[in-house]
């Protein structure tokens, strides 16, 4: 590649011109890159800005006409959310089932991923493919059976019900990501530890888990993400006690139309946990998205 350009190395003036142009180009290219990136960032931020803008406006200002920034700055919508138990319990419920789901998923996925990455056993390939098919299952398909199943076993409207339901796609995902990270750890480490007299559980907890801690961090991030954003199952499996914030948000549709300000404030607050979590894993996140295998 590029061999034709190699031939023009004599220093007559057209070639020198070309070289000068080539030297100038990277700077221009750098700026063009930055401009394009900035355009995309603006595209990402604009709808979010609009949401924030609206959350700080009073409803009369929102409906009174379009203003590009809150002229009548108010925190009344946020105050309403933080003082009304109905509202803030929505967040507490969502975070509760997300945390439960993360704990359950990681605890059962760790040994399973280890087995997939280290051993061959009867049906391993089929089992792995079956796990992945659960990632592909549309939640809508399981809506009615889940409702009936959790109703029958008496878990309807509890945090555990949602946490277990989200295991459907979160456990396979966790196994998939962790398996990628574990396969990157040389097997000699396991063998040396066993020769040194470590029992399997002790080796696993003391040596292996710390070695893939960044992988676990990334996995937890993904578990958080998919449990936090999923709402179809979460709102179907709950009524009042474990109602997620998404269902609470539908209450903004009142008799007098939609309460836009509160809806915007509630929406803005759902973005925050994600940003906090992504901040902690920002250095590992890229590898995690590739499921540990680039």
């Amino acid at each position: 590649m590029g061999e034709s350009e190699m031939t023009d190395s004599t220093s007559n003036s057209p070639a020198a011109d070309a070289r000068r142009r080539r030297q100038a180009r990277p700077v221009t290219r750098q700026w063009r890159k930055r401009a394009l990136m900035a355009t995309y960032i603006v595209f990402v931020l604009l709808p979010v800005y609009w949401l924030l803008n609206m959350s700080f406006q009073s409803n009369t200002e929102i409906l009174g006409g379009l203003t590009l920034w809150p002229e009548d700055f108010t925190l009344e919508h946020y105050a309403k959310i933080f003082t009304d138990a109905n509202w803030y319990m929505g967040y507490v419920n969502s975070i509760t089932y997300v945390a439960m789901n993360m704990a359950i998923s990681i605890v059962v996925a760790l040994p399973a991923a280890y087995a997939f990455s280290r051993y061959q056993f009867i049906g391993d390939k089929h089992l792995f493919f079956w796990l992945l098919t659960n990632l592909m299952a549309p939640p809508a398909v399981f809506l009615l059976p889940y409702f009936q199943l959790y109703y029958t076993v008496g878990l309807f409207d509890t945090h555990v019900a949602v946490a277990l339901a989200h295991c459907l796609f979160n456990i396979p995902l966790a196994v998939w990501i962790l398996e990628g990270f574990m396969s990157g750890v040389p097997k000699e480490i396991d063998e040396t530890a066993f020769i040194d007299g470590y029992s399997f559980p002790r080796f696993f907890v003391r040596i292996f888990v710390p070695m893939i801690s960044s992988g676990i961090g990334v996995t937890l991030f993904f578990l958080f993400m998919f449990s936090w954003v999923e709402l179809l199952l979460a709102s179907t499996l709950t009524a009042t006690n474990a109602q997620p914030i998404a269902s609470v948000m539908t209450q903004t549709k009142g008799a007098s139309g939609i309460d836009w300000g509160t809806l915007a404030a509630a929406g803005a607050l759902t973005i925050l946990p994600g940003i906090v979590v992504v901040y902690f894993v920002r250095n590992h996140i890229a590898k995690g998205f590739a499921l540990g295998r680039t």
Partner: protein
Amino acid sequence: MTKVRNNHAWWLILPMLLLVAFSAIIPLMTVVNYSVQDVFDANTRFFTGTEWFREMLNDPALQAAVLRQFAFSLTVLAIEVPLGIGIALLMPKKGWQASAVLILVTMPLLIPWNVVGSIWQIFTRGDIGLMGWSLRELGYGYNITASPVDAWATIILMDVWHWTPLIALLCYSGLRSIPDAYYQAARIDRASQWSVFRYIQLPKLTNVLVIGVLLRFMHSFMIYAEPFVLTGGGPGSSTTFLSQSLTTMAIGQQDLGPSAAFSLIYFLIILLVSWVFYTAIMNMQKDKPDGGV
């Protein structure tokens, strides 16, 4: 890595298997059960065999929903994959800018799906939304509740906003795994920007793109909350995708048999397309020895 043959590994799998089976197999069996029966109440039911399946496959409304779904999934893939690769190439690689851009780009992925719908609803409304209002001021009669074209364009724009980051992050991680030596060699060869992309970067991206396209296909095929909040499936049924047709049938109309049969057909379509796609790409990679990895 060579793996040891050891069937005791099943013990490590078992807890996971029990949990997933509880969440997957029991409900799936319930669906299968319903799909071959006509249920009147808890005690009266008739075996119907394949009747529901035939009825569903011949239902014009559902056929339309399937076509709509494919059109939607293919459109968003066609936009998001090239755009995602482009953004990954633009993302800064080090310094505080890299972290800042990474967090901003990831943000849409972490917003609950119905909130994504709400954000775009607020953003695109003609009276209070920046985009809807601007388009109207510019003289375009933008209206997502009346014009199917506007509704479609808005949903696709929303999906691009929401999910392009996934492809971008996958590609970004693929690009970061390329050793600097490759780029140095290319510089010595005076390779053009395009050949660097075509012969160094793109082959490295194959692996992550397989994952990305598969995930995007699966998720776009299950899309529910965003269009439901934004357009409610309208105008008419122009943006009613498969998940919404199914929930309306199962929860709204309580047609257990037909909706169960529909569920299974739906699931099988996803499985089939994903499998065909996955095998095709894996074979493609096997053909050229230097591709992937």
